[in-house]
């Protein structure tokens, strides 16, 4: 059990003799026993980072530490890391038992002890009944359990999970997610998961590192990245349905600053906390989550009167869509089930506390963008 520290880790590889920076000066500090997710779109460098930690890929510059051990130059097998591969990578001719024990046998540990260890881990992952089976006979979820068991049998200091749920579908996926989350509370081992699915990262991780184009965007708890995204990328990437983000202009009306969309469909007073950052006449990116807009009856300064374009009732919740212009749709999610149809007039209240304003050019959160200049 130990901390995992990445210090200025860079990865440059060559494609057609041109250098490509896959990971740019990445700094991360994962606490002992913490569950950290590396999250980003495909090709963002998250898998490369994982492979560098595992030792499957050279580190161009920077250092990786487990506790106070620098592991840059260690052979993968000496790093004391357990890796569960994305495509399971089980040895097809071996039984589940032998698959899990393969590693211990290679270390020449007495057979009796191996047996004990395997049974202990099998019980933990609830695969005791499967020990005599061959991988081909297992379902996707079972294979993933065996895969994780094999990674855990080495009693690693750090457990790495590479897209553990991506090959499972629907319901199995959701069950496995719950299982992995519960497992982590039992083994309490520093765990890094790589995923492109933000729901998975939110559900599992204590903290999420969001990476885009090789650069760390934000590192925080699920609620932090959800409620306080540092830039437009994070805001759009986290959350499903995605945050509504559209262009607004700041205008002065009756001596008060207002935000207004180009077609004036949405117009209201700039919230208190943004007043000192907003300049009249400037354009901004305005973001609000579908769950932070509510249907209401009475008017106030954050109410917008509009017409329903599309209404969806999804059982657990209903979604109301309003066409802002040709390209943008404003979505509202309500757990209270309403009954609307196309063209119905409704009033929507924007929660002023939950409005996010981003810089038009840099995409930075406006408070941050100003601090930086």
């Amino acid at each position: 059990m130990a901390e995992l520290i990445l210090k200025d880790v860079c990865k440059i590889y060559y494609k057609n003799k041109k250098p490509v920076e896959a990971v740019k000066s990445l700094n991360l500090k994962c606490r002992d026993g913490e569950f950290v997710a590396l999250l980003g779109p495909s090709g963002c460098g998250k898998s490369t980072t994982l492979r560098m930690i595992a030792g499957l890929e050279d580190i161009t510059s920077g250092d990786i530490y487990i506790g106070d051990r620098r592991i840059n130059d260690l052979h993968p097998k000496d790093r004391n890391i357990g890796l569960a591969f994305e495509n399971y990578a089980l040895y097809p001719p071996l039984t589940v038992y032998d698959n899990i024990g393969f590693n211990l046998r290679a270390k020449k540990i007495p057979e009796k002890q191996i047996k004990e260890e395997i049974h202990k881990i099998a019980e933990l992952l609830d695969i005791t009944d499967l020990l005599d089976m061959k991988p081909a006979a297992l379902s996707g979820g079972q294979k993933q359990r065996v895969n994780i068991a094999r990674a855990l049998i080495r009693r690693p200091e750090v457990l790495l999970l590479d897209e553990p749920l991506s090959h499972l579908d629907g319901k199995v996926r959701q069950k496995m997610r719950t299982e992995i989350k519960h497992l982590h509370t039992e083994i309490n081992c520093t765990t890094i998961i790589v995923t492109h699915d933000q729901l998975e990262a939110m559900a599992l991780a204590d903290r999420i590192a969001i990476i885009n184009q090789g650069v760390l965007q934000q590192f925080g708890t699920p609620l932090e990245v959800f409620n306080n995204p540092v830039n437009e990328f994070v805001a759009g990437f986290i959350g499903e349905p995605p945050m509504n983000i559209f262009n607004v202009v700041a205008i002065m009306e009756n001596g008060i600053l207002h935000f207004k969309t180009e077609n004036s469909l949405i117009k209201f007073v700039v919230p208190e906390k943004y007043i000192r950052f907003v300049k009249e006449g400037e354009k901004y990116r305005f973001g609000i989550r579908p769950t932070d807009i509510t249907v209401c009856r009475e008017d106030d300064s954050y109410t917008v009167k509009t017409k329903v374009s599309v209404f969806e009732n999804l059982g657990e919740e209903c979604r109301i869509h309003i066409r802002l212009d040709n390209d943008n749709i404003l979505s509202v999610v309500s757990s209270e089930i309403f009954h609307f149809k196309y063209g119905d007039e409704i009033k929507l209240k924007f929660n002023p506390e939950r409005i996010h304003i981003f810089d038009c050019k840099t995409g930075q959160r406006i408070e941050k963008a100003l601090q930086m200049t």
Partner: protein
């Protein structure tokens, strides 16, 4: 005007039965969704309606005329395919134009040009017309596939999982776009999907099929609130509905339920009556994750003690999994709830909102549909 009727459709491939005895009728201008898990036979059914497969038994009627022996090109149906099925050697323009250039639906070239431009504008792909399908993203390919279907006015639209390959965010957006488009099209549509959100959102009526058999046909409201059996109940909703065994016990004159072997929980009067009439001793109780409350103190007799098994925040909401008596119960709670793992917790099931199934066939006994109209109303 177009209604579609299938009667007693059976189809097997190499001795494996894919569809057995499928019958339903799709009314004129109806948006009809065929919903089922992978391998349920949905696509086969759609292909039979399109005329691509010939059923082993049964008939397909279009406007009450049997079209069993009509070739696909003469059925005047348009289809959107799951993997787009674009013509790789043609540009986007030529792909969309293809139906209007075919011998069957031929139009003069200037009409073709005008129509392609019109459809491309609706779908916002007018700037891609000169590209090849290999240069498009999945979302764009799917729009081209839609465009090829929308360019003529067929009697029936058939859509085979048209938005399955898009990521969750694009799906959310495309679903709204589809629904918006549907209002303007006003054409009979049969839509195949395995995503329950698409089914609930788009459908006028849904046919749930599983293993080649129809489990239930009904409006989204009926499917969600009065599922015919446990399969339908757990197919709609995520996390899926919690279902567990409950014993009927008699206390004084009242009938109560014993869940997890210990608690005596009061049940609504109408269900007591039903249970008494049918002399049932064990029922299966289904409760949706959002209809369970939780707390850290025992507020009343109906509270059941458990232990927090896992807590997964998903944005505004979170899934709370509670272990009760070796069973896992899932709840939908706000994600800012302060919850520690392995901590003791009390859950309370809202018995007004439970759905009862019989313990043998797992079919619907009673649901809370009698009360749901107060708070809930469905579209249409």
């Amino acid at each position: 005007m177009a209604n579609v009727r299938v009667e007693g459709i059976k189809k097997s491939f190499k001795k494996e039965t894919v569809l057995s005895d499928i019958s339903f009728e799709v009314k004129d201008k109806e948006f009809f969704v065929i919903f089922g898990p992978a391998g349920a036979g949905k696509t086969t059914l759609l292909n039979i309606i399109a005329g691509i497969y010939v059923p082993d038994e049964g008939h397909v009627y279009l406007n009450n005329k049997c079209i069993d022996h009509v070739e696909p090109e003469d059925r005047n149906v348009a289809m959107v395919f799951e993997d787009y099925a674009l013509y790789p050697h043609l540009t986007v323009f030529d792909n969309i134009a293809s139906p209007l250039r075919s011998p069957r639906y031929k139009q003069p070239e200037e009409v073709v040009k005008r129509e392609v431009t019109r459809v491309a504008e609706i779908l916002k792909i007018d700037w891609l017309l000169d590209r090849n399908p290999s240069e498009l993203s999945n979302g764009q390919r799917q729009r081209v596939g839609l465009g090829r279907a929308l360019i003529r006015s067929p009697e029936v639209f058939l859509m085979d999982e048209p938005i399955t390959h898009l990521d969750a965010k694009l799906r959310h957006q495309m679903r709204a776009e589809l629904k918006d488009m549907q209002r303007n099209l006003d054409t009979t549509t049969i839509y195949v999907t395995h995503d329950y959100l698409e089914a609930l959102s788009l459908a006028d009526r849904i046919a749930v099929i599983n293993k080649g058999k129809i489990e239930q046909i009904g409006t989204p409201e009926e499917i969600y609130y009065k599922p015919a059996n446990e399969f339908v109940a757990s197919a709609f909703g995520e996390p899926e509905i919690n279902i567990f065994n409950a014993e009927v016990v008699k206390e004084n004159t009242e009938l109560k339920l014993s869940i997890f072997g210990r608690k005596k929980i009061e049940i609504p009067k109408n269900i007591q009556k039903l249970v008494a009439e049918k002399e049932i001793s064990i029922v299966r109780v289904g409760i949706r994750p959002k209809d369970i409350k939780y707390g850290f103190i025992q507020k009343n007799e109906n509270c059941i003690i458990g232990k927090v098994y896992s807590f997964e925040p998903l944005g505004a909401k979170a899934i709370l999994t509670v272990q009760v008596h070796n069973q896992l119960v899932q709840l939908l709670v706000p994600s800012d709830s302060e919850i520690q793992l392995n901590q003791e917790i009390f859950i309370e099931i809202d018995m007004e909102k439970t759905i009862f199934f019989d313990s043998v066939g797992n079919n619907l006994l009673a649901s809370y549909s009698n009360v749901e109209r107060k708070g809930v109303a469905w579209q249409n």
